[in-house]
Symmetry: C2
Subunit: 148 residues, 2 copies
């Protein structure tokens, strides 16, 4: 393997790990009762309107039983609710409760301010370029996941 590539990989492994851990730790401060993963479940349902366990399991790249456990906790907390599908009765539609929607909208404000405080230390172009590359990586990973 080429030496310069190897160094890039080494740097990537170290820095991605660091940023994820520290980023999650900072975000946790804004999320009172809700965990980091639960926050992303709520976000996804909010953006979709309704969604299914299977869809969440695909997005999160985990087993469906992990989603069952997480959604159980969110139902207990009164943040989401389950509704049977009309046409296909195997499907259970997950949606935010009023409480869940309100909580998310308020919390998004705080999270946005946190991320903004970090991002604005970089130039607009640098952020834009960074996110574009990140999105390319997301697509590459998606393809690799599907092909397996």
């Amino acid at each position: 393997m080429e030496r310069s590539i190897q160094q890039l990989i080494e740097r990537y492994l170290s820095v991605s790990f660091l940023v994820n851990k520290r980023g999650a730790a900072l975000m946790k401060c804004e999320l009172d009762d809700v965990t980091h993963d639960q926050y992303y479940v709520l976000r996804h349902i909010y953006k979709r309107g309704v969604c299914t366990s299977t869809e969440l399991a695909d997005v999160f790249a985990v087993n469906k039983s992990a989603i069952t456990a997480m959604t159980n906790r969110l139902v207990e907390k009164g943040m989401i609710e389950r509704g049977r599908g009309e046409d296909d009765r195997r499907i259970i539609a997950l949606s935010l409760t009023e409480k869940g929607r309100k909580w998310l909208e308020e919390t998004e404000q705080n999270v946005y301010e946190l991320v903004e405080a970090i991002m604005t230390k970089l130039s607009h172009e640098e952020i834009e370029q960074f996110i574009q590359t990140y999105e390319k990586l997301a697509m590459i990973l998606q393809e690799m996941g599907e092909s397996k």
Copy 2:
């Protein structure tokens, strides 16, 4: 908050979550018995030669007791060992066993190949720029974590 910034934040939250989850899922395939977090503990000790619980807790941004639990498992697996410090007897130096060192060196090969397969779908300059920005973010997060 400015609208374009808000969109960047939204994109960042979505994509960073996706890449982390899917990246971790892909990496797990290479790590047989060892978990994702344990792999990074081993990596950190390998790079440092020896290190302490407190140092790991700082790097991972978790409590020291979380580190105790993780290192216990790694000791059970025969990957690392604990050694009392000579000068300060409170300190316990963590180091890789021969087995741990060999396992890590072999596994790094596979992980590197995995990351390389992803990276080489982007241009060298794009990766370099991406990692540089990532490293800036890491520094910003570090400062924010310290000031709190």
